[in-house]
């Protein structure tokens, strides 16, 4: 009978990617390979200030001295970095003021993805800065933001218009020396987003950026920088899906957040990149470095993420709690199915007094996937009365998937209190039958149970994002039963 359950679960979880398609847009791209010339090409293409090119070159030279990390609980064929293409952009020059000027094919793509670049969404209070193949193509509600002095634009645009802000903050949270992928990104990053919230401003809109990978064999290297000045507030949302492709696609992004005194930043992610086929072939490799610093006293940063995609995920949104009384939060749902592998978690580095951090991690593994939580909580000598609470739960579907928890503790202060709780559970046959008996089919039952399990995290997402995320959780575990 147990075999029966497993068979059912297998069928249910053996789902096909619903959003897979490929759009053909003429590319303007760099030849494959990575040399100093490639970097000069990228920088010139983007008409960058001199300091940027220097930064890139320094990062590149450093990267050449590094080896790809092997400590994560993931396996993938080695990547030949000389085979990748490091720059590609839609041929038509971007910088549209009006959505009508945007390539209709591109808009159609967005439509299929359900990306709300339309009026409706704008009215709902969202300014969208859509990023496709590394170049920003559309912006709405800039005016509302401008009136408040909020800057929200593509990274390239920021480099042209606000080079001093970029120069001042870029690389201060994630230096290019941080790790292999951070160095790579710093050398070749193509574009990304920049948000700046001036002193005392509560950003009136949820800022959202949609990322997408679309070019064959193109590594995508996004870079996001968010600066929240004293007493400001911003909620930032990032979401993405990707088309079905045969080649593995590398994604190595960097996100940096700086929160000054009394500032608060909420960063939410829904990630649904192409996870590969049932054999795990062709999915996206997602190697991301995300880090925020609570620079000032009483500042707060929270990461909320729903991760369902990618073949391999390597991602640890982290926080440095430097200001006294600052607060860090990490809420995560990570789903792996089929042969997906995820090694994700967070680092909370307590430096200031009375700093607080909360970690809630919910892993869901189905199929033959592997889902690992890796978290570090560190309190420094000066972090008096620092507190952390961590809760790491794993939910297993079937008996071929794996869940692993690697909590690391480094307590440098006797007054700090660190608590860690962990559970592992399974969806029981009793629960499934209870749902079936009420007329809910197997897919619906799994969707319901999984969403219930992840509720604590989903409730931290902005409302409309939460609805999308709920659908995504169901879809990513859905199969062909019925």
């Amino acid at each position: 009978m147990k075999d029966d359950d497993n068979k059912i679960l297998q069928e249910v979880t053996g789902s096909d990617y619903k959003y897979g398609f490929y759009t053909d847009i003429e590319m303007d791209q760099a030849p494959p390979g990575l040399t100093e010339d490639t970097i000069r090409f990228i920088s010139a293409k983007k008409n960058e200030p001199e300091f940027m090119l220097e930064f890139r070159l320094k990062a590149f030279r450093h990267w050449q001295t590094l080896k790809e990390p092997e400590w994560a609980h993931v396996e993938y064929p080695s990547i030949n970095y000389q085979d990748l293409i490091y720059y590609s952009a839609p041929r038509k020059k971007p910088k549209y003021d009006n959505i009508d000027e945007v390539d209709p094919e591109l808009l159609e793509t967005f439509e299929k993805l359900g990306i709300p670049l339309d009026e409706q969404k704008s009215l709902a209070g969202v300014a969208v800065d859509a990023v496709m193949d590394s170049v920003s193509v559309g912006s709405t509600f800039k005016k509302t933001l401008e009136e408040q002095g909020v800057i929200f634009c593509s990274f390239s645009e920021a480099l042209q218009k606000h080079p001093e802000l970029i120069k001042k903050h870029m690389g201060t949270v994630v230096p290019y020396t941080d790790n292999f992928f951070a160095a790579l990104n710093s050398a070749v990053f193509s574009d990304g987003s920049f948000a700046y919230i001036p002193k005392g401003v509560k950003c009136p809109l949820e800022l959202s950026t949609y990322f997408r990978i679309n070019a064959a064999n193109t590594g995508q290297f996004e870079r996001t920088l968010i600066v929240a000045e004293e007493g400001s507030y911003v909620s930032y949302m990032e979401g993405c899906t990707a088309p079905i492709r045969d080649e593995n696609q590398l994604h190595a992004a960097i996100v940096e957040i700086i929160a000054h005194k009394d500032a608060e930043v909420k960063y939410s992610t829904v990630q649904n990149w192409w996870p590969g086929d049932k054999e795990g072939k062709g999915g996206v490799y997602n190697f991301v470095t995300k880090r925020g610093i609570c620079e000032g006293d009483n500042s707060k940063i929270s990461w909320t993420q729903v991760e369902t995609g990618s073949a391999v995920t390597w991602k640890y949104p982290s926080l440095i709690l430097k200001g006294d009384n600052s607060t860090g939060e990490f809420y995560s749902v990570a789903v792996t199915n089929n042969k997906q592998q995820a090694d994700t978690g967070t680092k909370m580095i307590h430096l200031g007094k009375n700093t607080r951090s909360t970690i809630i991690s919910k892993g869901i593994s189905a199929g033959q996937s592997n889902n690992s939580y890796r978290g570090l909580v560190k309190t420094s000598k000066k972090a008096e009365n620092a507190r952390n609470f961590s809760q790491c739960d794993s939910l297993l579907l079937g008996d071929q998937s794996g869940a692993h928890t690697f909590p690391y503790l480094d307590v440098g202060n006797r007054t700090s209190i660190v608590e860690h709780e962990a559970t592992t559970s399974k969806i029981s046959e009793d629960q499934l039958f209870y749902c079936l008996q009420r007329g809910i089919d197997m897919e619906g039952a799994i969707g319901l149970i999984v969403n219930g399990y992840a509720k604590e995290v989903l409730s931290k997402l902005p409302m409309e994002f939460a609805v999308e995320a709920q659908k995504l959780l169901s879809v990513s575990l859905e199969g062909s039963v019925g």
Partner: protein, 252 residues
């Protein structure tokens, strides 16, 4: 409405129901009694379509359909409701959300539009009153942290919401205080209609004081060994099961 003929069912090769016959007509209430482990819950599960049990022999027809051809969720949508002996917890899923999903699945199956939020809330308020359950309960996660009695009341509430044609209540009276027992009985009686039927599985005559059965069956060793009217329940209460067991013919 329900016709079970010569049913045999097993789990992991172990036969639990063997050669069972039962006919339930519209408008009837049947009580099934029997010692622990005699197969009452198994019978309920097999009727509801739980796949952990294998049906080895026999037929079940329900409203003219071959029930054994239908998966569990279809049986539910066709109007079969099982009030569980041990209702399971579903953390993070509110009763309201759970019921809304269930009702709309059923409506979809029947070719009806889903209920709007407002319609659903109205229905829920109505039924909550009917079965007298606490308002707060429906906002809580399904059975999570519920007391034994609350779990059973929640089953009756769900039954009221889903308006089944055939309800099977598996020891819904166990663990209830006398007031709750009356509430459960009241719920069952209010939902009783000429075109639906109820099977109550119970160990206690006291429930049958409130829900008057048309038939009482004794299930023993996977078979119905004696049937009678409500007086049989009274007799069982007084004398226990031994005399029935002795009377029962060996084999079938």
């Amino acid at each position: 409405m329900l016709n079970i003929k010569n049913l045999s069912a097993s789990i992991n090769g172990k036969t639990i129901i063997s050669g069972l016959n039962l006919e339930v007509k519209e408008g009837e209430v049947h009580a099934i009694m029997g010692p622990n482990g005699s197969g009452k819950s198994t019978l309920a599960s097999v009727i509801a379509g739980r796949e952990t049990f294998d049906v080895d022999e026999g037929t079940i027809t329900y409203m003219g359909k071959n029930l054994l051809d239908l998966p569990a969720e279809t049986r539910a949508r066709e109007g079969i409701f099982l009030g569980f002996q041990y209702p399971v917890e579903i953390p993070g899923v509110s009763i309201a959300n759970f019921m809304r999903t269930a009702i709309n699945e059923k409506r979809k199956y029947l070719g009806l539009e889903p209920l709007t939020g407002a319609e659903f809330l109205k229905l829920m308020e109505e039924k909550k009153k009917m079965v007298d359950i606490q308002s707060k309960l429906t906002n809580r996660s399904v059975n999570e942290g519920f007391s034994g009695g609350e779990k059973k009341k929640n089953e009756i509430f769900q039954m009221a919401m889903l308006e089944p044609r055939l309800a099977i209540l598996d020891e819904t009276d166990s663990g209830l205080d006398i007031d709750a027992l009356k509430v459960v009985a009241k719920g069952v009686n209010k939902l009783r209609r000429p075109d639906n039927a109820t099977i109550v599985i119970t160990h206690y005559q006291r429930l049958l004081d409130y829900i008057t059965p048309d038939f009482v069956h004794v299930l023993y060793d996977g078979r119905i060994i004696k049937s009678g009217d409500k007086n049989l329940a009274l007799e069982l209460e007084k004398k226990g099961y031994d005399w029935v067991k002795k009377e029962a013919p060996a084999g079938v």
